[in-house]
Symmetry: C2
Subunit: 218 residues, 2 copies
DNA sequence: TGATAATTTGACCGGTTGGTAAACATTACA
DNA sequence: TGTAATGTTTACCAACCGGTCAAATTATCA
């Protein structure tokens, strides 16, 4: 009997496990560099090292494949923000959030570009994720930041724009990698790049959020 | 005689002027939202309000059209950085650079997305512009920033990463507009959004670059 | 081992894509 | 006004795209 391909009615096969993994890996590679519309199934199949009909046996449509990829990657992608701890020391929480985001930009640039492509092109496939889980998480953390500001632990500032600033500056190194490389040239573009970026961003955010020196003595 | 279409051997006609304008406007709209590969000539022709063969009479290929668009837009896009003045007051130069970039993100989001799409997908069509004119301009301005730091007018910092940070934070509001809107919700997403962003970024960069308080008195 | 289910493949299909050819329409200008 | 150059359209093409189908192959396990 020809069951609906890769049907979840039965337990998943070892082969299913492996092939779906291969496909999603290839899909990440391709979708991240060409966006959804710019990517072709043939291309993904090629990278995955299998024939197009074979790939379509596991994911019936391009959309299905894209969705599966998004679902798998989104959680990981939000982890750094989730770790943001209300109980911690504000300065060091912000510092390590920047670190984590920068590490993700360095170690998982494809994931970053996957989302960047999506959002840039109007987020036609992930709108629900943005207004749902993402917004909820950001709202929660924004409240934490606001409370720190109220307690005088960091400067008063708009928490949402702070989060946007951390996102944009860190993800820049993944999304705009070729530009960064082109501008820095061979000189600064080696290993030290991320270290330099980390140092600068730390200086920027910690300095920018330091509570203004009050005239009163310490 | 059927000259090579829109040949530049003769002076350009009024009609050529108008139609090419129409086409580039439409091309900007389409390329900015779907990237090069994701855009179709039919779509652009449709937005431009003309038939596909008619469009192809003015630009023989999709590549030609894209290149013409890039050439036209790049100069404008770099203007804010060009205005960056070595003779001015550092803090207010940085402040107004941020302003200008933010205004461009607000007023010309399509131009921003056009480049974002290109760079994100590996800059296959604009590599020369990045390593050429862009790098040259950035190198020049980086030197200015470095000299300010040496003179003790702003904190010592990596000028390249500073420029990247200004680019990314400001362009974020154009490129990731849907995400910003999704997260901010209806509440903060009206007119005031850019004002809030400007205020925050000013605070961040001016604070972050303030020369550290030396133990010596003022 | 054999039967049954799971997987893979090649051939194919209708629609879209970038682009062309040639006829037709319009403009500019002597 | 006539005619040559410019501009526009219809019909078309080959390649590509997302996806199907049925046949062939391979894995599973009683």
């Amino acid at each position: 009997m020809v069951l609906p391909r890769a049907a979840r009615t039965q337990r998943r096969t070892r082969i299913q496990e492996e092939k779906e993994e291969q496909i999603l890996e290839a899909a990440l590679e391709v979708f991240a560099t060409h966006g959804f519309r710019g990517s072709t199934i043939d291309q993904i199949a090629d990278v995955a090292g299998m024939s197009k009909p074979n790939l379509l046996y596991y994911f019936r449509t391009k959309e299905t494949m894209h969705r599966a990829l998004i679902d798998r990657v989104l959680d990981t992608w939000l982890d750094p923000l989730r770790e943001f701890d209300a109980e911690g020391n504000p300065a060091s929480e912000i510092r390590s959030y920047i670190r984590r985001k920068l590490e993700m930009a360095r170690d998982f640039p494809r994931e970053s570009r996957l989302f960047a492509n999506e959002v840039l092109q109007g987020a036609p496939h992930i709108e629900d994720e943005l207004t749902g889980p993402l917004k909820a998480l950001v709202d929660e953390k924004a409240e934490v930041i606001r409370s720190w500001a109220r307690a005088g632990k960091i400067a008063k500032c708009d928490p949402y724009h702070l989060i946007f600033a951390i996102w944009s500056t860190t993800q820049h190194y993944a999304d705009f990698d070729v530009q960064v490389k082109a501008v820095l040239g061979e000189a600064h573009s080696g290993e030290g790049r991320f270290e330099d970026a980390a140092r600068f961003l730390e200086q920027l955010f910690i300095g920018g959020l330091a509570v203004a020196q009050e005239p009163s003595a310490t």
